[in-house]
């Protein structure tokens, strides 16, 4: 079964601390992984996708097929990073399968 697991509902860190938002997936085919972010009062927007291997707003994520993970990392958190983060899995059918999301709260 296709599934995305985000084990943390809430992650609270201090400004300047490293951040790692966990995402594990289950998929039998060749996965395509995404991180979407929703800032307060804004729409869901793409943060990054594994295929592009870009670093957006200082965030990176590496697809680890052996561990079936796609954790999102940032070395130094900023207050403006506070938001809801969703890991999503895409595949041959093009529909996205989302995790339950992790609320990142960056304290000053």
């Amino acid at each position: 079964a296709q599934r995305v697991t985000q084990p943390e509902k809430l992650l609270s860190v201090f400004k300047g601390a490293p951040v790692e938002l966990k995402c594990n997936y289950s998929y039998s085919g060749s996965p395509e992984l995404f991180w979407y972010v929703q800032y307060s009062r804004q729409r869901l927007q793409l943060l990054l996708r594994h295929i592009s291997r870009e670093s957006i707003k200082g965030f990176t994520a590496d697809l680890n097929k052996g561990e079936t993970s796609f954790h999102l990392k940032k070395p130094f958190a900023q207050e403006e990073d506070s938001a809801m983060y969703y890991c999503a899995l895409g595949g041959a059918t093009n529909k996205l399968i989302f995790g339950t999301g992790t609320l990142l709260a960056v304290q000053p």
Partner: protein, 113 residues
């Protein structure tokens, strides 16, 4: 460039009534998707249009939900009759090509009382 728009932003209806949600995708985007997030659950796929054709409707919960995309432009999602468990946020997304980035609308918050 205007993004994906959805109307209304909020809707409060009584159980048994009918509600129609509208989505206008980004101009030129052939692919249109509907998703929803019910209380406490993850965002779930409902269906996917390519132009006016339903490519995948595997996520539609039951026959109370009807989606259309006449002319391959905007789409509507009708819930008739609405039930309490239909409450949630309904998102629309669009993409230009298959397996390209999906751009999301702001969502419609539906509350069924």
């Amino acid at each position: 460039e205007a993004g994906v728009t959805q109307f209304p932003s909020h809707s409060v209806i009584e159980k048994g009534q009918t509600v129609t949600l509208r989505c206008d995708p980004i101009s030129g985007h052939d692919n249109l998707y509907w998703y929803r997030r019910v209380m406490g659950k993850e965002i779930k796929f409902l269906l996917h249009f390519v132009k006016e054709s339903k490519q995948d409707e595997s996520g539609m919960p039951n026959n109370r939900f009807l989606a259309e995309r006449t002319g391959g432009t905007y789409s509507t999602l009708k819930v008739q009759p609405a039930e309490l468990e239909d409450s949630g946020v309904y998102f629309c997304a669009s993409s230009q090509f298959f397996q390209e980035t999906q751009y999301f609308g702001p969502g419609t918050r539906l509350l069924v009382l």
